[in-house]
C-alpha cells in the first residue's frame, strides 16, 4: 500500500514537471524565422491625389538571398536581398497589417534600421509617426530617420546593396560611416528626444536617388576647398543608385531648410560626433591646389555658454589633429606647417561662424548649445523663462580651433 502511495506521488511529480515544461516553453509566442518578413526600412510618402493617409513602403529582407556571405563562391552579393511593397495606409502599423495580407510572411519591425520620410511629409510635420515609433517595443532606438529629396518609395526601390549581403548592415555602414562627415551622426532616437525640446532643434540626414542634372556649388570658403557643397543626389557619379549627404533642419517636427555636405561636416565637428575624414584646405602659398589632410577630432569640443544677458555668448573650442595626405608637388608644405595650421584653423572658423549665423537666422539651435545654457539655471522654470529659442536668435558666437598637423605621411621633404 505504502509502495503504491510512493509510486503514485512519483507519478504526480513527474506529471507536474512535464506540465510545467510544456507551459514554460513559451511556444505560443515562438515564430519560425522563415515565416517572418523582416522589415529593414520604411518609406513614408504623401498619398496619391484624392486619397487619404500615406503611401507606406515596407522594404523587407529576403532571407534566402542573405544566407551565406558575400564572399562565398557563387554568391550574388546583396542583389535581390531586399524586396519592397507599397500600400496606402493611415499609419505604419496599418500598413504592416495590410502587407501581412498581401505577402505570405508576418512582418516584424525588430530589424528595422531606417525610416525615410519624403520631403513633403517632412515639411508638413512627422509628429504623429514619432509617437507610434516610440511606443512599439519591437522598434529599437538605434534606427535612423532620413528625409528623401525624391519620394521615399523611389529611394527605397533604388537601394541596391551590391557590396553588402545583409541589408541591415548596409544601412549601418552608410549611416554610421566613421570616415565621413557628410552625414549627421545621430540616431533616430535623438530626433524624438529633442523635437519638442527647448534646448535643441533636431536634424535628419538627406537621402536621394542620383540626379546628375543638378550639381552642388563651390563655396568661397577655405574649408573643403574646391569640394562642391552637395546635398544627396547631386554628387556626379557613374554608378547610379542612391546617395546620402547633407541634412535637413527641423523646427519642432517640421523641416524648414536643408544644408549641403560641408556644413553637415561642420555640424558634426561642433556637436563632437565627427570622427575623421579627408578634408581639403585652401592654403595661400598654393592657391590652385588644396592641401588635403586626414582630419581627426581629438576630443569632444569644449562648449561654454554665458546667459548673463538676453544675448547669450557661445564659445566653442575644437580640438583637431591632421595628417597631411597631399599637397602641391612643387611646394614644400613641411617648411610651412605652422602657417598652414593657422590658415586651416581660420578657414574652419570662418565657415563655422557663417553656418552658425545661418542657423541663427532660421532660429534653430541644431548644435544643442541650449543644453549647455541649461547649466546656468537652477530650475527648469528659470530656463524656460529665459526662452532659449528666442535668445539664440541674438546669440554671439566665438570659435577657437586648435588644429595641429602631426604627420606628413611617408614623405618628409625639405
Amino acid at each position: 500500500m505504502l509502495l503504491k502511495g510512493r509510486k503514485k506521488m512519483k507519478f504526480i511529480k513527474i506529471a507536474i514537471i512535464v506540465v510545467l515544461l510544456v507551459c514554460f516553453a513559451s511556444c505560443k509566442d515562438s515564430n519560425e524565422p522563415e515565416t517572418l518578413g523582416y522589415v529593414v526600412a520604411i518609406g513614408i510618402d504623401e498619398p496619391e491625389e484624392g486619397e487619404e493617409g500615406y503611401d507606406i513602403t515596407l522594404q523587407f529582407a529576403n532571407p534566402d538571398k542573405i544566407s551565406g556571405g558575400s564572399g562565398e563562391a557563387g554568391g550574388d552579393g546583396g542583389e535581390g536581398s531586399i524586396e519592397n511593397i507599397t500600400v496606402p495606409a493611415p499609419d505604419i502599423y496599418s500598413a504592416i497589417n495590410i502587407a501581412n495580407h498581401i505577402i505570405s510572411k508576418k512582418f516584424v519591425l525588430s530589424h528595422t534600421k531606417l525610416i525615410v520620410f519624403s520631403d513633403e511629409i517632412a515639411k508638413k510635420g512627422i509628429k504623429n509617426f514619432l509617437d507610434s515609433i516610440n511606443r512599439n517595443p519591437e522598434i529599437r532606438p538605434n534606427i535612423y530617420f532620413a528625409v528623401s529629396k525624391t519620394s521615399a518609395r523611389a529611394f527605397l526601390e533604388a537601394v541596391n546593396p551590391k557590396t553588402e549581403v545583409n541589408p541591415v548592415r548596409y544601412y549601418t555602414m552608410l549611416f554610421e560611416n566613421d570616415y565621413s562627415g557628410f552625414i549627421p551622426q545621430n540616431m533616430g532616437q535623438d530626433f524624438y528626444l529633442f523635437y519638442d525640446s527647448e534646448e535643441k532643434s533636431p536634424v535628419m540626414p538627406l537621402c536621394s536617388i542620383v540626379n546628375t542634372e543638378k550639381g552642388g556649388d563651390y563655396p568661397d570658403y577655405g574649408y573643403q576647398y574646391k569640394v562642391e557643397d552637395y546635398t544627396a543626389g547631386e554628387i556626379r557619379e557613374n554608378a547610379g543608385g542612391v546617395q546620402i549627404a547633407g541634412m535637413a533642419l527641423f523646427r519642432g517636427d517640421t523641416k524648414i531648410s536643408e544644408t549641403g555636405d560641408t556644413k553637415t561636416e561642420i555640424f558634426n565637428l561642433l556637436t563632437g560626433e565627427y570622427q575623421s575624414s579627408y578634408v581639403s584646405y585652401y592654403f595661400s602659398k598654393t592657391p590652385e591646389t588644396p592641401v588635403t589632410v586626414m582630419q581627426t577630432q581629438k576630443k569632444r569640443p569644449k562648449i561654454a555658454v554665458s546667459t548673463k544677458n538676453s544675448a547669450p555668448k557661445i564659445v566653442v573650442t575644437l580640438f583637431l589633429e591632421a595628417d597631411i595626405s597631399s599637397s602641391e608637388e612643387a611646394f614644400l608644405i613641411e617648411s610651412d606647417i605652422e602657417a598652414f595650421s593657422l590658415e586651416a584653423a581660420n578657414a574652419l572658423k570662418e565657415q563655422a561662424t557663417a553656418f552658425f549665423v545661418e542657423t541663427k537666422a532660421l532660429g534653430v539651435d541644431i548644435f544643442g548649445f541650449g543644453s549647455y545654457a541649461k547649466r546656468n539655471f537652477a530650475t527648469i522654470d528659470e530656463f524656460s523663462a529665459y526662452n532659449w529659442k528666442e535668445a539664440y536668435k541674438n546669440a554671439e558666437f566665438e570659435i577657437k580651433v586648435e588644429l595641429s598637423v602631426k604627420r606628413t605621411g611617408l614623405l618628409v621633404r625639405g
Binding site: 529599437r140 528626444l193 543644453s371 530650475t379
Partner: protein, 363 residues
C-alpha cells in the same frame, strides 16, 4: 512554527532585494515626475530620511531585544492589538507586492510574450512562487545571496556600457523643478523604501540582535546606491521630460547599449536581472505575508496559508482593468502603506517599552 535562521549576509541581501526591485522596475519614473532632473538628489534625500527612520527603530531594539512588532503588540495590547498590527503589516506587504506582481506580468507581456495572456503569465509566476515557498526561507535566502549579487553585477554592466551615451547636460538645471519639489516629493516617495518594515519581521530569524542593525544599514546602502546609479544613468541617457514617459527605465537603458557593431541587444542582461530578482522578491514577500499571518494567529504551520495567500494575491493583482489602472492603484497603495510601514516599527516598540517600564515600576 519552525524558526529558520538566516545569516547576516543572507538577511542583508534579502532586504536589499526587497528595497531594490522597485528601482529596477517602474519606480524611477515616479521620482522623475516629482523632481525632474533632480531625481538623483531626491534619492539621496529620501535615503537620508529612511536612514533616520531606520536608526530610530534600531534604537528601540536595545529595549525590545529579538522581538518583532507582532510579539511586542501582543505584550502591549494582547490578542486584539496583535491582530490589528499583524493585519496592518500583512496589508502593507500586500500593497507593496500585489502591484509589483501585476506590473511584472504586464511588462513580460509587453516585452517578451506579446501573444500570451497576462493571466497565464501571472499564474506561471504564482506557480514559481509556490516552488520557492516549498523550499522555505533559508533556501530562498541562500539562493538570493547567490543570485542577487550577480544581478547587481549585470546592472553594473548596463551602467558601464552606457558610458558612451551619457550626456552630462541632461542633469541640468541641477534642481529640476525646484528645491520645494524635491523636499515635498522626497516625503511622498519615501514609499520606495517602505519594504524596510521586513527587517523587523525578520528579527526572530536572526542569531543575535546585532544582525538586523548591520544588515538594515547595509541593505539600505545597497538599495540607495542601486537606485542612484539607475536614476543617474537613466537621466544621463534620456533628457527630461522623456525620463517620466518610459514604463521600464532599465529596459529602456538596455536597448541603448551598443558595444561595437556586433555587441548589441543587451536586453537579455536586463531580462536576466529582472526575472531572477522578481522571482526571489516574490518568494520572499509571500513568505513574509504568510509568516505575519501565521504568527498573528499563532498557527503552528504556515504552509497551508502560503498557498491561500498566493491565490489571493494573484486574484487581487488581476483586478486592475489595465496597466494605467494598475499604476494608479500602485500609487494609491504606496501612499497609504508607506507612512504605516515607517511608523509601526517605531510606535509599537515605544508603546512596548512604556508598558514594560510601567510594569517594572509596579513591581
Amino acid at each position: 512554527m519552525k524558526n529558520e535562521k538566516i545569516s547576516e549576509r543572507e538577511q542583508t541581501l534579502v532586504l536589499a532585494n526587497l528595497l531594490s526591485v522597485k528601482a529596477i522596475f517602474a519606480f524611477p519614473r515616479t521620482i522623475f515626475e516629482t523632481s525632474a532632473n533632480a531625481a538623483w538628489i531626491e534619492i539621496i534625500y529620501v535615503s537620508l530620511l529612511v536612514w533616520a527612520a531606520l536608526e530610530i527603530s534600531i534604537l528601540t531594539y536595545r529595549k525590545t531585544g529579538k522581538k518583532s512588532v507582532l510579539e511586542m503588540a501582543e505584550s502591549v495590547g494582547n490578542k486584539p492589538f496583535k491582530i490589528a498590527v499583524g493585519f496592518s503589516v500583512a496589508l502593507i506587504f500586500c500593497a507593496n507586492f500585489i502591484t509589483e506582481m501585476r506590473m511584472f506580468a504586464e511588462s513580460v507581456k509587453i516585452i517578451l510574450l506579446p501573444r500570451t495572456e497576462m493571466e497565464y503569465i501571472m499564474i506561471l509566476l504564482a506557480a514559481a512562487i509556490c516552488v520557492g515557498q516549498k523550499s522555505g526561507l533559508r533556501a530562498t535566502a541562500t539562493i538570493n545571496a547567490i543570485f542577487f549579487p550577480i544581478c547587481l553585477i549585470f546592472l553594473g554592466f548596463i551602467v558601464i556600457f552606457l558610458g558612451k551615451t551619457y550626456n552630462v547636460n541632461n542633469i541640468f538645471p541641477i534642481l529640476g523643478k525646484g528645491a520645494s519639489s524635491i523636499l515635498k516629493g522626497g516625503i511622498k516617495n519615501m514609499s520606495c523604501f517602505s519594504d524596510i518594515l521586513a527587517l523587523n519581521i525578520l528579527i526572530p530569524h536572526t542569531e543575535d540582535i546585532g544582525v538586523p542593525k548591520k544588515s538594515g544599514r547595509k541593505a539600505l546602502l545597497i538599495a540607495t546606491v542601486t537606485m542612484l546609479f539607475i536614476c543617474l544613468s537613466y537621466e544621463l541617457c534620456y533628457p527630461y521630460p522623456w525620463t517620466k514617459e518610459y514604463l521600464l527605465p532599465v529596459y529602456q537603458l538596455s536597448t541603448r547599449i551598443r558595444a561595437g557593431e556586433y555587441f548589441q541587444r543587451f536586453e537579455a542582461f536586463f531580462e536576466f536581472v529582472w526575472e531572477i530578482s522578481q522571482l526571489l522578491y516574490s518568494a520572499i514577500y509571500i513568505f513574509l505575508i504568510s509568516e505575519v499571518l501565521a504568527r498573528t494567529f499563532d498557527l503552528r504551520d504556515k504552509t497551508a496559508i502560503c498557498y491561500g495567500v498566493i491565490a489571493l494575491v494573484t486574484l487581487f493583482a488581476l483586478q486592475p482593468s489595465s496597466i494605467v489602472a494598475a499604476l494608479g492603484a500602485s500609487r494609491l497603495a504606496n501612499a497609504i502603506a508607506a507612512p504605516i510601514a515607517y511608523l509601526l516599527p517605531i510606535a509599537v516598540p515605544l508603546l512596548y517599552a512604556a508598558k514594560r517600564k510601567k510594569k517594572d515600576e509596579i513591581h
